[in-house]
Amino acid sequence: MTQNAENVLDHFELFRGPEYQQMLENKKKMFENPRDPAEVARVREWAKTEEYKELNFAREALTVNPAKACQPLGAVFVAVGFEGTIPFVHGSQGCVAYYRSHLSRHFKEPSSCVSSSMTEDAAVFGGLNNMIDGLANTYSLYKPKMIAVSTTCMAEVIGDDLNAFIKTAKEKESVPQEFDVPFAHTPAFVGSHVTGYDNALKGIIEHFWDGKAGTAEKLERKPNDSINFIGGFDGYTVGNMREVKRIFDMMGVNYTILGDNSDVFDTPTDGEFRMYDGGTTLEDAANAIHAKATISMQEYCTEKTLPFIKNHGHEVAAFNHPVGVASTDAFLMEVARLTGKEIPEELAKERGRLVDAIADSSAHIHGKKFAIYGDPDLCLGLTAFLLELGAEPTHVLATNGTKSWAAKVEALLASSPFGKDCHVYPGKDLWHMRSLLFTEPVDFLIGNTYGKYLERDTGTPLIRIGFPVFDRHHHHRRPVWGYQGGMNVLITILDKIFDEIDRNTNVPAKTDYSFDIIR
């Protein structure tokens, strides 16, 4: 049956109908120069071999299925973490549409972000006019408290000078002189979204602390007892930020979160559209200079920001997306040390519960092999957690991982007998991972939504942890930090393990003798 207005079928069902199947088959036969299916099968099998893997790893130029995104995505992520701030990306508008959809698809929230919409003219003559008009329009249309400027490649290639452009725009009265327009150069041809996060955050802090691009006095630091907290680029920001705030409040810590986007990515449905919600106030961002220390949850998201802050007299501490008991211990101990606050009994209990849960389920995770890919810090955090569980993180891959990152992962693997025979792959992509999953198979794959192709092709069950997760809803609302967060990650991993056991035992009259209700 073709489509019928009485009963409209969606694409799952419609194209399975006989006439569509026939049509597709004919098309293939007559117009698509079909290959011998046996030959297709042969090549498919060959692509699973060691020989193919070696060719795959010998690739020099081509990247296939990259597990990273571009700098401005990270910049936009940072910008919305400040009160009433609209991200303004100087460059072509198509890129900006990508960031918005990327964030929307992950968080299931609108993502507000504007572009200077550079065109061919701008590419030739420079984007100054786009900056002037763009800032003026943004200011009058969306009434922001701050406009955080970043760039796309287009503006970077022609070398637009953001500092000068913004000054000129202010002279042309696009926005008031005293209006905050921090900026950061974020070319996609350098680094990845974690680099963009770093640059944009540093741009905003520098703006407030170091005299607003020469338009104000530099702030003088008067140390107080508070600490600053930086989350880094984090797909779990909604759950994590709230969990970290809960922990800090329990400990009685005086804190400022720099770039708190947990509310703007989780607005309530109550009849009011919130283009801006929550976020670090601009006043707090400025006053953050007085804090005694700054903690970054993700070292590789703050490679420039943290030294910058350290130069302003702060004690700084960086973690690698801490997940699990020991990593959370280290984080809390550092917070306690920096603030002089005690870790309350309630947190000790949460810790005990996580240890209890790990022990209860240890037999099911013990010795299981995992492949992990994702951002550098997440890979480190998950690797540490898996080692803690007695699992083997066999392949650890980050397309945006550097050599120094790889050395850190190697050191971590070497610290545990469960890290034996595990390997780290900096700068590799998901097509490399595909080969690895065939030649050195693992029990489970941890990665983002794009891992579903690997799951389908290699049969390795995918545990979705990372960014982006487009095809499962609401994961970002659950923390993965703190002991509670560790519990969530543990449960996520266990659920997949048990689903697999069930899936392997559910054929009636064949394997279902082991289809048990108690696992």
Binding site: A326, D329, A359, A363, P417, D516, I518
Partner: protein, 558 residues
């Protein structure tokens, strides 16, 4: 109910039961019902015992007559495995309601049986009595009989309502139901001189399937397994077997013994846990079959198979030995598994520092002593504090335990491995032994245990409850050491009989005062060993030591 109480009496008289043999006439009448302390944490009831004993029969419908509680809580809760029908896993219950309680549930039961037969047509329906219908007087025997006549299909009443006693009694009542209504009611299609029954084996985690290929290879046929992966017809015609193996000594001893009595089927008690035990069991099976007329060449083939399989298992165990060197095991589990697992662990080079004997019979305990030496530390009831102390003193690296104590072990910060019914791996036979060791290795080396034993890094060692408990225990010990009078008092206060709360001092005093010579006399005077009878051995020890000692000095070594 009169027939039920007669059956119960009959079960209590079971001469095959090791425990029973130790009892006086009066005690035997009272039954093996361990007196439950009201307010104490209790084990399962007779219904549960009957259900778990028969539930592994895979092709029959198990219908629980009672309110939702009984089936609702027990539905599909056993890890038994079926190679065929899955109907045993379907939860059938009459789910009786208030009206049924007032007017009786027999009609609903009858209709339920009819609906099962109409819709599922199983070879038999097993009907389980529970407390409520038993109390209101539902006569399930009569209903089953009527249904059997009406539908021409075996409908088996299993009369073990929860209130009649503990789980173990239920196991035996289930056996009685089979003896009365099932065994001997059909004939096998053919028989061979190599037909055996395996009794008291439940195919948990598919364990039986690790043994069956060995038997198949020897040409030995399991005519019926009662009840793991069992079929109704097989059990019904099991009376034609030539020999039987009794696996779990306490659960179905009455079945094995009565089948020997009625049909002349000799049986032996054996175990498939551990390499040595498996070999012994295979030998005994062959031996019995040959005695019953099988070709003696079976013995040679059995020996050949044993040496091949043992060699294979030893080779598989060898790599574990360095990993297990110096590792100590504490075993907390019930009954038969104590000694059989013990032997297995020693084979792999693990050192045993203690084992529980809570459910073990005197013979079990003797075997443990044989295996571990006289100073074996047998633990009757261990508190978490004691468990932790054992661990802390490096007396144990791992605890192997039943499903329920595992959580206690965990809070006491000890690695554990579950070896009772809720486990998920098959440990029987040669292959199962290797699997067990693999699991022990996992548990021993899982990094979480290091985490479990340490306090949170911001806490000092002295502040943990473990440290406090140890300090408390140490202080108590020191106080006792410094004060011999107090120590003697403490020794005398030690409870020997927990059921009747009789202390060592009270027993010693009675022995001295009345010049007692036997356990029965002690029981008469002090009530000690008048409950579950588990302390008989201890009373015997006291008698023995006192008779040796100078009666003037009532201070005797334990």
């Amino acid at each position: 109910m009169s027939s039920l109480s007669a059956t119960i009496q009959d079960v209590f008289n079971e001469p095959g039961c090791g425990k029973n043999a130790n009892k006086s006439e009066a005690e035997r009448k009272k039954g093996c019902t361990k007196q439950l302390q009201p307010g104490g944490a209790a084990g399962g009831c007779a219904f549960d015992g009957a259900k778990i004993a028969l539930q592994p029969l895979t092709d029959v419908a198990h219908l629980v007559h009672g309110p939702i509680a009984c089936e609702g809580n027990s539905w599909d809760n056993r890890g038994a495995k079926s190679s065929g029908s899955q109907i045993w896993r379907t939860g059938f219950t009459t789910d009786i309601n208030e009206t049924d309680v007032v007017f009786g549930g027999e009609k609903r039961l009858f209709k339920s049986i009819r609906e099962i037969i109409e819709k599922y047509d199983p070879p038999a329906v097993f009907v389980y009595q529970t407390c409520v219908p038993a109390m209101i007087g539902d006569d399930i025997d009569a209903v089953c009989k009527a249904a059997r006549e009406k539908f021409g299909k075996p409908v088996i009443p299993v009369n073990a309502p929860g209130f009649v006693g503990p789980k173990n009694l239920g196991n035996k009542l289930a056996g009685e139901a089979l003896l009365q209504h099932v065994i001997g009611t059909e004939e096998p299609e053919y028989t061979t001189p190599y037909d055996i029954n395996i009794i008291g084996e439940y195919n948990l985690s598919g364990e039986l399937w690790q043994i069956k290929p060995l038997l198949d290879e020897l040409g030995i046929r399991i005519l019926a397994c009662i009840s793991g992966d069992g079929r109704y017809k097989d059990v019904a015609s099991s009376h034609r077997a030539k020999a039987a193996m009794m696996v779990c000594s306490k659960a179905m001893i009455n079945v094995a013994r009565k089948m020997e009595e009625r049909y002349g089927i000799p049986f032996f008690e054996g175990s498939f846990y551990g390499i040595q035990d498996t070999s012994d069991a295979l030998r005994e099976i062959s031996q019995l079959l040959v005695e019953r007329g099988a070709d003696p060449e079976l013995l040679d083939r059995t020996e050949a198979l044993i040496s091949r399989e043992e060699a294979r298992a030893w080779a598989a165990i060898e790599p574990f030995k360095p990993r297990f060197k110096g590792k100590k095991v504490l075993l907390i589990t019930g009954g038969v598994k104590s000694w059989s697992v013990l032997a297995a662990l020693q084979e792999a080079g693990l050192e045993l520092v203690g084992t529980s004997v809570k459910k073990s019979t005197k013979e079990d305990k003797e075997r443990i002593k044989e295996l571990m030496g006289q100073d074996a530390h047998m633990i009757e009831d261990m508190t978490p504090r004691e468990m932790y102390k054992m661990l802390k003193d490096a007396k144990a690296d791992i605890m192997l335990s039943g499903g329920r104590s595992q959580f206690v072990a965990l809070k006491a910060a000890m690695p554990w491995l579950d070896i009772n019914q809720e486990r998920h791996h098959a440990y029987m036979g040669y292959a199962g032994m290797v699997k067990l060791l693999k699991e022990i290795e996992k548990a021993l080396y899982n990094p979480v245990w290091k985490q479990v034993r340490k306090p949170a890094p911001w806490e000092s060692e002295e502040e943990t409850w473990q440290a406090k408990a140890l300090a408390e225990a140490a202080a108590e010990e020191a106080a006792l050491a410094a004060n011999p009078v107090l120590a003697e008092q403490r020794r005398r206060d030690t409870a020997i009989c927990r059921c009747k709360s009789v202390s060592a001092g009270a027993i010693e005093d009675a022995i001295s005062a009345f010049d007692l010579k036997t356990v029965d006399e002690v029981r008469e005077h002090t009530q000690a060993s008048g409950g579950c009878t588990a302390c008989i051995e201890k009373v015997e020890d006291i008698l023995a030591s006192m008779n040796r000692a100078d009666p003037a000095l009532s201070v005797a070594a334990e």
